[in-house]
Amino acid sequence: MRGNSNTIQTHRAVSTLAALLAGALALTACSSSDHKKDNGGKSSGATAPGSTLTLPKLDGATLEVAAVWTGTEQKNFKQVLAEFEKRTGAKVTFVPAQDPIINFLGSKIAGGQPPDVALLPQPGAIKQAVDKKWAKPLGADALKELQKNYSPGWQDIGKVGGKQYGVYYKAANKSLIWYNAKVFEGAGAKEPKTWQELLKTAQNVYDSGVTPFSVGGADGWTLTDWFENVYLSQAGPQRYDQLAQHKIKWTDPSVKQALTTLAQIWGRKDYVAGGADGALQTEFPASVTQTFTGGDQPKAAMVYEGDFAQVNIGDTKAKVGTDAKVFPFPAVGSSAPVVSGGDAAVILKDSKAAQALATFLASPDAATIQARLGGYLSPNKNVPDSAYPNEVQRTIAKALVASGDDFRFDMSDQAPQAFGGTPGKGEWKDLQDFLKNPKDVAGTQAQLEKDAAAAYGNGS
């Protein structure tokens, strides 16, 4: 796997930032008062009040942390770093990186100045960093903290060859359907728990005169995310993993079943805003905003995407939690899917300070700080629910943590970029063609398999 899906990543970065603005403003006040209170803590080093975490005293040590985050997201993360500085006395510098971060790190390492810690967005990127001998394994302290706070599933995706390299500091929940509350009220529709209920809800909404779904088909990744949710829930985690590694073919009956299921929505006339042609020209941000503008007569009632959709909802007059509500992606098979994404901290230059930072990032203390600022989800199961600033964020975080080890990482992000991450190519393009012609399940499968074989075959 090479680099990462640029577009998605940038997009999500941008999205997440904006969401946080309000929260950040509100919270700067609290955090600054904390600063004053704790000024003496530095000399005593060790444990901060109310914390279980013991960090070494690192006066004089300097650290560089690289991540692709910008704007508010970066600002919030810097507050977490500031807390680390305060507790240990080390000096931490944030290095803004560009996408794909793996290429950015390559040039830094070639120049002999790698950052101490980098936040990598995909399991594939961690593996790449390990293969190139850039990444250093976690030390005993960090490992202990990680095992205490993370479910085995979240630990495993940070492992390469049985060794723990990554700490998943930030997560994304991509199994959510956002809906316009006014439309649901008008249609007398309820939040569905299963796919059958979802279809019934959709029919209800349609009968009330509103198109049920908005699909941002101009961006192929929204379509691959749809597919992944249906597939994960219907075919189960094992098959999902096999398909992600291309150990089973896309011509497999399970893929046929998933596509046929998808066609129950994509293929129904008038179920998708603007029809297939319209959806294919709707970019993700527009697919969200058109669901939440126009009062109780929006272009569509529901839009599927991850927690980062909040940012785009912020561009409309709708308020998250009252006008714009969310329910977890309904169960297609036996249980509801949880498809996720995330950023993992990886140590590139081994030192006591770098290990200490990894330990800190694995602790609930760090995650709680950023959770309070909003627009952030932690896979850390020991982050209290109360840390999240609003009900919606809490629901999303709960769903993520409750999934235990049944969550799966975004499949297209695990695939070679030529297949899972290029506009107008591979899986993106094939699912766009499928959206246009949902009757052609077999043809879509054949095309997917052909593209997958080419992309996985050339050794990426």
Partner: protein
């Protein structure tokens, strides 16, 4: 510039020794002065070209020799073949249309009083970067008539001639007495005089209901006539309510057309629903089935799919022409200024009309300029990238693909630098003949 070079050509007064050039400089000194330029050219132009050629023979990771595999991919990969086809369309149409428009503008502006102002306006898009132009046209071609001006005009014209109907998305609800028929809906059972019929539908958005729609009422049976109601069987917040009977707040489909169709499929009677949704049909409709014809449900016209797979390349070429017609116009206007007026006058005196003067005198005299403009644009078009990259939405980027874009995608997002280099070399080969043509042309100009 050409004339200056030509003036310099006659040999200087003293050129005795072979070691000195025309201007009397030593070759070594000349070389010294040329050195910085040569080094820069070598490092920035010659070396990258050479390295691209070498790289195109290596595989994706750059450590294995691949022979001609990358070049083979050029002609077997579907994506590259579409790109190639589109490039040909671009090279044929974009320069010719831009030049033709430029010619028309140049000739016409010569004759208007405010010619310069007009030229300024036409030339203005040249001052905009390709990126900005791309963003502008992305909006122009937007599907939504409320955003995209192209579709706004198109839909406006279309709707002047064909009205859309009032109930575009209406459809039968649960357990409906209606079924789909020829784009409309027809009752499954026949109707009889003295009885009432219900024709409930759902799915019309409240804000799309006709303004004169009133609360639906159940029709009363009348002897010798067929009566009935057609209405929106949906109560806000409650769903269907009483299935198949009008609830208190449900609205009638005012103006809905109803046809009675006999067994042979002939329309025997027709009527329109009143504002409360009730309708009455005469006795001759007895035994027929009732149809709500398709004209009730015609979807609003959505305009042209400018950025869909079929039209995306012409649409982007349109935006290119918008930018570059001004460039062509300015060059052609300059050439036009050099055309001797006497020739035009002479032709007019000889009785040629304006079209003949344009066709037989102006255009032939301008031919060299036209050729230069077209060829310059051709070179420019071969490397077109930004407009396509920005205007084409992800879903039709594949259909709008051109070589330069494919080069970028292969090289930077798919990790295939070998194939990308092969495309680069191929593009270079395509540009060379056009470049040679232009250079030879310039030389000839200089000699004249």
């Amino acid at each position: 510039m050409a004339s200056a070079a030509a003036a310099g050509a006659p040999p200087g007064p003293a050129a005795p020794k072979s070691r000195k050039s025309v201007t009397g400089t030593r070759k070594a000194v000349a070389g010294l002065f040329l050195l910085p330029a040569l080094v820069l050219l070598g490092a920035l132009v010659v070396y990258p070209i050479g390295y691209s050629v070498v790289r195109s023979f290596y595989n994706a990771s750059g450590d294995g020799f691949a022979g001609f595999d990358n070049y083979k991919a050029l002609f077997t990969d579907d994506g590259i073949r579409t790109a190639l086809k589109n490039n040909i369309i671009w090279v044929v149409f974009a320069p010719t249309v831009a030049t033709a428009l430029g010619l028309v503008f140049a000739v016409l502006t010569e004759r208007v009083r405010w010619g310069t102002a007009f030229k300024l306006v036409v030339f203005m898009p040249m001052a905009i970067s390709m990126l900005a132009a791309g963003i502008i046209f992305r909006l122009v071609y937007d599907q939504d008539p409320n955003k995209g001006v192209a579709n706004a005009v198109w839909v406006g014209v279309h709707d002047t001639f064909a009205q859309s109907s009032a109930f575009p998305k209406a459809h039968p609800g649960r357990e409906s007495p209606l079924k789909a028929d020829q784009g409309g809906f027809i009752t499954t059972a026949t109707v009889h005089t003295g009885r009432t019929v219900t024709l409930p539908l759902v799915g019309v958005a409240p804000d799309q209901m006709p303004g004169d729609a009133k609360k639906a009422v159940a029709a009363k049976p009348e002897p010798g006539k067929i009566t009935g109601t057609t209405w929106q069987d949906f109560t806000r917040g409650k769903g269907v309510g009483r299935l198949g009977a009008p609830d208190p707040s449900e609205l009638g489909y005012a103006g809905m057309r109803i046809e009675a169709v006999d067994t042979a499929g002939q329309v025997v009677a027709s009527t329109k629903a009143a504002s409360d949704g009730t309708f009455t049909l005469p006795a001759k409709a007895d035994g027929a089935r009732l149809r709500l014809p398709a004209s009730n449900f015609r979807a609003p016209y959505n305009g042209v799919d400018w950025l869909g797979p079929a039209l995306v390349t012409p649409a982007i070429i349109g935006s290119y022409v918008w930018m570059w017609a001004g460039f062509a116009m300015v060059l052609i206007a300059a050439g036009l200024a050099g055309v001797p007026r006497e020739l035009l006058e002479a032709a007019r005196v000889d009785g040629a009309n304006e079209w003949q003067v344009f066709r037989r005198v102006t255009v032939p005299l301008l031919a060299p300029v036209l050729a230069v403009v077209t060829v310059t644009l051709m070179i420019n078009v071969l490397k077109v990238f930004d407009l396509v990259y920005i205007i084409a939405p992800g879903s039709s980027q594949d259909d709008a693909n051109v070589l330069a874009l494919e080069l970028y995608r292969k090289g930077f997002s798919e990790g295939q630098p070998g194939i990308a280099s092969a495309i680069a070399v191929f593009l270079l080969l395509l540009v060379i003949p056009v470049m040679l043509f232009n250079i030879r042309r310039l030389r000839r100009e200089v000699r004249r």
